[in-house]
């Protein structure tokens, strides 16, 4: 299992370097797709092994069920993005700067995947922080790849706000470490497992402050309100595969870091405090993004706000902290990754076809690009939480988990229900309008690229499949992940 894990992390890194050095864009393309699909297969095989706990190099490489869930989610978006990129880049092949653009694109894509896979694949809280900071650096360059004034501004805003937030997160890591020096000695490895087993003896006030800083810091990266201001811009201005990776994988990575703090904090000072904190940030994200979804005129921004909403769902689900809700949270990480990347791919295809991101100007795509439109509509419904799609199942589980202890959690659970429906309304309204109706004049029917459709179809397997049936192996991993979130060793 440890070799699988090592391969999982190494493949994208090597591919990133190869892509940068490779003289042929086509070569990087083929290698990236092959590597990314291999990564997905490896991640799936980790699920197959039941998601036990492995650790090597003093915790530098590490996996437990929660890691496996994240690895699967990231690898899934990585693989589909790699497939989608073939189609996405095809239309630019004849432009002057293409070889350079493609080289940078593939090098960064793979490195970005590497950093995101590294986050859940280590036990060392310091390395988790470093990996997340690296994702910022790499992805900011990807957002800026388009080179337009707006994309540069978005990249600047993103890297500035995210790095500031992560500075606070680093402070959180340091404080968490310092809280343990009394019991664990001056010099120990800041491993999650070490800290968790020492949690009852950590210095409580320091842990509280560390958790707060971690939620604010990593929450900036996860797009929790009110630290979300960079997110819609970066997601809408970057190339579509990057939007998918940012939304589906990166945000979940940041939430993952918060979950790691969550378990330790809960064991150190009781779960009351961290639950409240997560709940406040989660509900704030739900409320604000729900309303913003309703008034968006740009469909990529629409999905960006929807991502904020789903991070809110994760936060609230973790705050419920009942086994059922946590199971839902773990599942939601995967379903959201699949669904949101699918939605962004659809949006990217429409953008390529019609050359606009405005919902008002997008009409009747079902007549122009039927396959994409159907998949896009499905993604829209799935994102809104309609059955039989995966998000419905995970959100339902989270809600059911909230209702299962009605005394304390009734009000939050009802709030969540209402807010999720609000977001759904907004999404569904737009998806319908965009798909149906008369197409704009002069637009020729025909899919933008078969590869783009293929990527969406691959996503659909997960989006629909997880809604209908959760395999037993995966279910076991999800149960494990649920207990890891609340610090089960």
């Amino acid at each position: 299992m440890i070799y699988v894990l090592a391969a999982l992390v190494t493949i994208p890194l090597v591919l990133g370097l190869v892509s940068y050095l490779s003289p042929l864009p086509r070569l990087s393309q083929v290698l990236t797709v092959a590597g990314a699909v291999t990564t997905l297969a490896l991640a799936a095989s980790l699920v197959g092994t039941g998601g036990g706990r492995v650790s090597a190099f003093g915790g530098l490489l590490y996996a437990d069920p929660l890691s496996v869930v994240l690895l699967l989610a990231v690898a899934l978006v990585y693989a589909t993005s790699a497939v989608f990129s073939i189609g996405y880049l095809r239309s630019e092949e004849n432009t002057a700067g293409f070889p350079r653009y493609a080289r940078n694109f593939y090098a960064l894509l793979n490195l970005f995947a590497f950093t995101m896979l590294l986050v859940p694949a280590t036990d060392d809280m310091g390395v988790i922080w470093v990996a997340i900071e690296l994702t910022t650096i790499v992805s900011a360059l990807m957002v800026a790849l388009e080179g337009t004034a707006a994309s540069l501004e978005a990249a600047w805003k993103y890297v500035l706000i995210a790095s500031s937030g992560l500075a606070l997160a680093l402070l959180a890591v340091v404080l968490l470490y310092a809280s343990g020096t009394n019991t664990l000695g001056e010099g120990y490895d800041p491993n999650w497992t070490v800290l968790l087993s020492a949690a009852p003896k950590l210095q409580p006030d320091t842990v509280r402050l560390a958790f707060l800083l971690a939620v604010v810091g990593f929450g900036t990266k996860a797009g929790l309100v009110p630290m979300h201001t960079w997110l819609p811009d970066a997601h809408s201005e970057g190339p579509t595969p990057v939007s998918a990776l940012l939304s589906g994988a990166l945000l979940a990575d940041a939430m993952y870091a918060i979950f790691r703090f969550y378990g330790i904090t809960g064991h150190a000072v009781g779960f009351g405090f961290p639950k409240t904190v997560l709940f406040v940030f989660g509900v704030a994200s739900l409320v604000l993004s729900g309303f913003f979804v309703l008034i968006q005129r740009d469909f990529k921004r629409l999905f960006a706000y929807s991502s904020i909403e789903h991070m809110g769902v994760l936060a609230v689900g973790a705050a419920f902290a009942t086994p059922l809700a946590l199971y839902g949270v773990a599942l939601h990480v995967i379903t959201h990754a699949a669904t949101k990347s699918m939605a962004f791919f659809g949006a990217g295809s429409i953008l390529k076809k019609l050359g606009t991101r405005e919902t008002a100007k997008t009409r009747g795509i079902i007549h122009l690009i039927p396959a994409t439109a159907v998949l896009f509509l499905a993604a829209g419904m799935a994102i809104g939480g309609l059955p039989p799609f995966g998000i419905f199942r995970s959100e339902f589980l989270i809600l059911a988990g909230g209702f299962s202890e009605p005394g304390v959690l009734l009000v939050p659970a009802v709030l969540l229900l209402a807010l999720v429906n609000l977001g759904f309304l907004g999404l569904f309204r737009y998806a319908n309008r965009m798909a149906l109706g008369e197409p704009p004049e002069g637009a020729k029917p025909g899919e933008a690229s078969r590869w783009m459709v293929a990527a969406m179809a691959l996503d659909l397997v997960f989006v629909l499949g997880l809604g209908l049936w959760v395999p037993d192996a995966l279910s076991a991993v999800l149960r494990g992940a649920a207990s890891v979130i609340v610090g089960g060793l």
Partner: protein, 220 residues
């Protein structure tokens, strides 16, 4: 001996904060770079002193790497980014809040940092509370600096000083943090500077300015 080491450690920590105050007064990019270099130097000195006190070899390594990376390489990179933008580098950086008010605000933030840090029962080998509080003060002032200086380079320097403050705080309360993590963080800083540099140049080329005032197309 110990008393003198303690005092010297506290002294270098205070110097770090003073450099941060100095940044608030600095209106030119070369001033920013120089102050950042000195600030990093004092942070490195603090780390080395902590190394002497605790006998922890890793702290010397961190100090040495800090000197190389943050005293020489990073400021040189910052100056390089702005070399092609000379006409902008010489102009006074626009401020959202004037110098005297900034200094007063920074004083208040320092007080806040002390008040917060003293509530935590943390201990370290070197002047625990004072130095951690000072690190926290550097972070807070760094945030203030970033918010009120309307220039991309200033914001970059602001981010970098945040890291300096955290490094100071880390050495004060958690000097045992493994070397690997410390080095990785420094590596991150270097990467961040490079990426920021690329963005600054691209922005400058496209907009012909390094001020942030025109960057308001995107509303979040």
């Amino acid at each position: 001996m110990q008393q003198a080491l303690d005092a010297l450690g506290g002294f270098s920590a205070v110097l770090v904060v003073l450099m941060q105050f100095g940044l608030l007064r600095s209106r030119a990019i070369h001033g920013h770079a120089a102050l950042y270099a000195f600030e990093s130097l004092f942070v490195a000195a603090f780390s080395a002193l902590a190394g002497i006190t605790s006998g922890n070899f890793e702290l010397y390594v961190l100090a040495a790497v800090t000197v190389v990376a943050k005293v020489f390489v990073v400021p040189a990179l910052i100056m390089r980014f702005t070399r092609d933008l000379d006409e902008h580098a010489e102009v006074e950086i626009p401020l959202a809040v004037g110098v005297p008010s900034s200094l007063l605000a920074a004083l208040a933030l320092t007080g806040l940092a002390y008040a917060a840090a003293l509530r935590l029962p943390l201990h370290g080998p070197l002047l625990p509370h004072t130095s951690f509080a000072l690190g926290l003060a550097v972070v807070l002032i760094g945030f203030f600096f970033m918010v009120t200086r309307l220039n991309t380079i200033s914001q970059l320097v602001g981010i970098l000083t945040l890291e300096n403050g955290i490094f100071l705080g880390t050495v004060a309360i958690a000097p045992g943090l493994p070397l690997l993590v410390g080095l990785l963080i420094l590596f991150d800083v270097l990467m961040a500077v490079l990426v920021f540099g690329v963005l600054v140049r691209l922005l400058a080329v496209r907009r012909a300015t390094v001020t942030t005032t025109p960057l308001k197309e995107l509303k979040g």
